[in-house]
Amino acid sequence: MSSPTNDTCLTLQGLDVAFGAQRVLQGLDWSLPTGQVVGLLGRNGAGKTTLIEALLGLREPDAGTALLFGQPVAQLSDAARARIGYVPQRSDLFEWLTADQLLAYFRSFYPRWNTAKVDGLMSRWDIARDKPISKLSGGQQQRLSIVRALAHDPELLVLDEPVASLDPAGRRDFLSELVEQVVDRRTTIVFSTHILSDLERVALDVAFLTGGRIALHAPLDELLESSVRLGGVPADIRRFVDEHQLQAVSRAAGVPVIARGRDAASLPRATSTVSVDPVTLEDLFLALTA
């Protein structure tokens, strides 16, 4: 892996994290250029939350290094921390405070605070300011968590399943806010989610976490265009893959089912013996995280 540059927001090298005998991250390498929007995908228990915690310095790795803005995450400067926004998986936090108290509390730490944005989002998302957080609905708690993370205009936004409790309208509002954030501020965004349709609307890149490593990180459009689903007689499929220099992404009984290649988009949709169909993100998710 290349050394971090000024344009690299996040660099992880050889990251190992284990819980007892269970190794969750195994020599994970990953880097993110500034301004990239990455959807982090993985099955339940794949280690997405652990990866997010490790990259933010909330969990010490057993081995490897994690750099944010070129600094080791364990020794991030105050200035670097002011550039990070984080929405954790659980949003029922600081239940003893009201929304207003929570925002005032976090505001007291940041050198920059976008009051106009906070007020706009609070009123647009209809979050009661003077109610204890424990009395807000799950969706409102999650929205408040997002407002808090966006309030100081972060340059790196890390979101761990941020839309799990939101209804479709809430998800749409949230996604448009994310898009604005990217367009206006060139914010780097990492977010994990299981709702693939949302990812397709926002993410420019996707990263698949499986077996404790990033199995694949690629631009979403390119990935969809370069991948095809193959069907037919096994011997014919194998010959087809060899002929067109495709790389098997997933196999069933040793036979490629989904394959990638540079010229996949220009492949014939079908031959006399092999069917060639476009893939969806869900197909890729199932194939790459199996």
Binding site: A74, L76, F94, F106, S108, P132
Partner: protein
């Protein structure tokens, strides 16, 4: 009862055991059983030591000791039996709570025979617990029928109190009521009449007590419907309120209970407003506010001030009540002497529960450590350590003042605390609580979810220090100043050791991340 019914009840009855085994919280049980075995032996040892010391010459001492041992072994067996009975009582309360948890309206309506099976499980457990306690007590003290008539309804009262916790207040006021009844002119007549009834009709009284117990017990399990839904919702709200209180959070409950709890956390919110309004508030002070009301020093301040206010109000009531009940001031005086010792661990509890509170807010701490200005690494551990030390010292000093207040009030009611040896006990408690401050310096990152046993460790340390202090001053005739100096030195050495170890550990927050 056939074996198939018993096997169908087995999962319900074994649920508390499995829950504890699965959550790894069996330590409390082991601790209690250990105490059951060790406590009588310790008492025996101390008594033998006193007997030997009282007689000149080894031969005489051995003779006295052998005579005394017979009596002491009997006493030790009595203590063991009582502890075993208490253990059964605790297990019964746990089981009832668990069975009531399983008595959900949805299950009662949808699962065939669910309420009937819960009821059967409750009866089996009640019969077993009653038999065990009666067997234990009557084996040492005789009178099995009297034991049965007292134990069976008492277990039912305990079960009903689990369902309606306000009934616990009855236990609080029971000594006062008993004392009042005994002092009442007709009290002794009443006791004699009850005794005569018991002698004349023991069987019918036993049957009546058992029948009433069975009816009450059956009514505890509900079978669905609107009333069940309402009572279940009330129980869930109560449990949620306890959970929120454990986090030191503002209550979610409305009504009078909510108002009272609001009063307890008001100083925290006032301090929060003040801190956020002042630009000069330090980062660490704001960080401590972010850890929640339970970890903040205002929790101890509230505990001390609130308890002192309650003590003063109680004193005023006792003093006024003395005009009508001549026995009340002296009785109240004794209660205040007991409270002088008993209240200190109470006001120290917010400081002692820091582990639980930090564990509960560990998710919030993920966000706190990412805030600009918050110290990192060893600096964070040190700053947190100092803050928690301040919190503990405040609680300890408050406890000492509260103790002095209780003793002063007892004296003004005419009770001489020194005559009861309580003044010594009070002093030992204050000294015993000193080394506990070192528990505020831990490897918080590795601290596991607190178990019942974990919470007891500081109190056990306090108890050991109290015991050693008592033995060295009373039996060893060490000067008090030497004992206090030694305890201070040990506290300091232990503190330095723990502090150094803490400095070499990963950053304190987020707590429990490496557990």
């Amino acid at each position: 009862m056939n074996s198939s019914l018993l096997s169908s009840l087995q999962p319900m009855l074994a649920a508390p055991w499995h829950q504890r085994r699965n959550t790894g919280s069996m330590g409390t049980l082991v601790f209690v059983v250990g105490l059951m075995l060790i406590a009588p032996l310790a008492l025996l040892g101390m008594a033998l030591h006193a007997t030997i010391g009282a007689r000149d010459g080894l031969a005489g001492a051995v003779m006295d000791a052998s005579v005394a041992t017979t009596h002491l072994l009997a006493s030790a067996a009595n203590v063991s039996v009582c502890i075993a009975a208490l253990l059964v009582l605790g297990w019964w309360a746990l089981l009832v709570s668990n069975l009531l948890d399983q008595n959900r309206p949805v299950l009662a309506s949808l699962v065939p025979q669910h309420p009937a099976r819960l009821r059967a499980a409750l009866f089996v457990a009640w019969a077993g617990s009653t038999a065990a306690i009666v067997g234990l007590l009557s084996s040492r003290f005789g009178a099995p029928r009297a034991c049965l008539v007292i134990t069976a309804p008492a277990l039912v009262f305990l079960a009903v109190s689990v369902r309606w916790p306000l009934l616990w207040l009855g236990g609080v006021f029971a000594p006062l009521m008993v004392k009042g009844a005994m002092e009442w002119d007709g009290g002794s007549d009443l006791v004699e009449r009850v005794a005569a009834q018991w002698s004349a009709q023991p069987r019918s009284i036993t049957v009546t007590a058992l029948a009433a117990s069975i009816v009450l017990l059956a009514a505890l399990i509900q079978s669905g419907g609107r009333q069940h839904v309402a009572s279940d919702a009330a129980r869930r709200t109560r449990i949620e309120r306890f959970r929120m209180q454990a986090r030191g959070a503002k209550p979610v409950a409305a009504g009078r209970a909510g108002l009272f709890e609001n009063l307890l956390v008001r100083p925290y919110y006032a301090w929060l407003r003040r801190a956020l309004a002042r630009p000069g508030t330090s980062v660490v002070e704001r960080l401590m506010l972010g850890l929640g009301p339970g970890v903040h020093w205002t929790a101890s301040l509230t505990a001390v001030v609130g308890t002192a206010a309650a003590v003063v109000v109680a004193f005023a009531l006792v003093d006024a009540g003395g005009l009508f009940f001549h026995w009340l001031p002296e009785f109240g005086g004794h209660v205040f002497v007991g409270a002088a010792v008993g209240l200190v661990p109470g006001v120290l509890s917010p400081a002692l529960q820091v582990q639980a509170r930090l564990h509960q807010t560990r998710r919030e701490q993920d966000l706190l450590v990412l805030l600009p200005g918050v110290p990192r690494g060893a600096a964070l551990s040190r700053r947190l350590g100092w803050q928690l030390t301040g919190h503990y010292v405040l609680a300890w000093a408050g406890g000492c003042l509260l103790m002095q207040l209780c003793l002063a009030l007892a004296r003004s009611l005419g009770v001489n605390d020194a005559a009861h040896g309580m003044l010594d006990l009070a002093r030992w408690t204050v000294v015993g609580m000193l080394p506990v401050v070192a528990f505020q310096w831990r490897a918080w990152a590795r601290a596991k979810a607190p178990s019942g046993l974990g919470g007891l460790v500081p109190l056990v340390v306090c108890g050991i220090v109290m015991l050693v202090t008592a033995m060295t001053t009373k039996i060893g005739d060490w000067p008090e100043s030497t004992v206090v100096g030694t305890v201070l030195a040990v506290t300091l050495a232990w503190g330095v050791l723990r502090w150094r170890r803490m400095a070499g550990e990963p950053a304190a927050l987020p707590a429990s991340r490496l557990a």
